[in-house]
Amino acid sequence: MRRIYLDNHATTPVDPRVLEAMLPFFSEQFGNAASRSHSYGWDANNAVEQARVSVAKSIGAASSHSIVFTSGATESNNLALKGALEYYGDKGNHVITTAVEHKSVLDTVKRLGTRGCEVTVLGVDALGRVDPETVRQALTDKTVLVSVMLANNEVGTVQPIAEIGEILHERRVLFHVDAAQGLGKIDFDVEQMNVDLASLSAHKVYGPKGCGALYLSRKRPRVRVSPQLDGGGHERGMRSGTLNVPAIVGFGRACQLFSIEGLEEQTRIARLRDTLQSRLLEALPKVSVNGDPEHRLPGSLNMSFHHVEGEGLMLALKDIALSSGSACTSATLEPSYVLSAMGVDPTLAHSSIRFGIGRFNTEEEIDIVAERVISEVRRLRGMSPLWEMVEQGIDPASIRWATT
């Protein structure tokens, strides 16, 4: 049976056109972009600067100088949070974020907390959305930065970035957006949305892994961060380390591609997602959708199949690449903290599957996936003692389970 990849929120394949753009920079044009004195260096540097322009344009940034290349969104998040709190330390020490952020934000913020920063983590509603009012109310005169993701990786919920940006612009508090998941899929314009810092990831937009960027607004006053990597002073002193030229070139090309093809592509992807969702909802009783059906990434579908466990279902669907919010899939045996923050019952978190549809998925694949999911859910329900109870009219939630 052929494999089908439906885990595009975890990573995406490198687009062949991106790969093509990258290859010369491994062999003929292999120079170090910082080699100022010869043509190998100049060529590499030119390619990097072109990529910088492409990345900047794709997020509506006026100047390419606002882009700092990093090894990925995790590094960008670290640089943004640690770098800003350090640089603006005399203005305050309070940072605000949400409970559904990526670990690279949450764990960084936790570390800042151990270093004497005040931390506020805002809750979200049942759809995974943060209310801009709660942001406003959490602000103090010591707040340096607020960090909210553009869209969530697990359930696809799109956050009200423009509304929050307006509030923070008024209150003169820095606004950082982790745009790793949302970039290239939904509108993201840093100037229109009053975003001061933004983390970007190449491998989520059909570019290579190991490359990302941090946008730093150059509107007066320019946003600054204390560098976290010292060394040769690359990226105007903000991020030392020889640039990964091929990957950066790839990232630039990937941004160009979604800037040109984006709208049409996302409409098609949303249609595939909606088809999959309706097929599953029609065929199977007792399933629920996690996240915000209105404000959701086009390719994102997170569903719970009641009384069937997520990892077991994924194993049964072994030729289809998916992921789950079940505890069994995590090394720590804790269920998805995003679903928990949304108030999703732990049992339903254990039954959740995340489908991530992307550029290279086809209608045929969606048909196959729908059929297989329906068939395996039915088979596993036939093996589930909880489903048997449901069929007999007993609510499993009414049983007093021995707590382990």
């Binding site: 997520g310 732990p346 036939g382 093996m383 589930s384 003692p385 489903w387 382990t404």
Partner: protein
């Protein structure tokens, strides 16, 4: 998550999935785990007149390792005496299935399930014996 071939075999071809009549005096039922933890196993045994397990059935809500552990247990206890079945150790289950450390709790739960099924059967037998007047 790397699965052993045996785990995959048991999840693709589970043995003895099903339900025995919970009201049958010769049937013992063990229901262990918790949906909130993502693991629930129901193991049932039918014991014959000689005190051997004639039939075993399971249903499990859980990951591949949990399904495999409970399926394996039904295979192993069929044909055994109650004493032999209660000697079943989770370590043996884990070894047979090559369970990684993070999945060892699935084998522990399976051991608990068979213990409870046996206990349930013995409890039933004991209360039946009370009802029958001494001859």
């Amino acid at each position: 998550m790397l699965y052993s071939d045996k785990v995959i075999d048991h999840t693709d071809n589970p043995r003895n999935v099903g339900t025995l009549d919970v009201n049958d005096p010769n049937v013992g039922t063990g229901l262990v785990g918790n949906p909130a933890c993502g693991d629930v196993m129901r193991l049932q045994i039918r014991v014959d007149a000689e005190g051997r397990i004639a039939q075993a059935r399971f249903k499990t809500f859980g990951c591949g390792s949990a399904i495999a552990a409970s399926s394996l247990v039904t295979e192993w206890v069929t044909g055994k005496s109650l004493d032999e079945a209660s000697a079943l150790k989770n370590t043996a289950i884990a070894a047979e299935l090559n369970l990684p450390p993070v999945k060892l709790h699935c084998s522990v739960l399976a051991e608990q399930a068979i213990e409870e099924a046996i206990e349930d059967f013995l409890r039933k037998q004991a209360s039946l014996a009370e009802k029958v007047p001494a001859k």
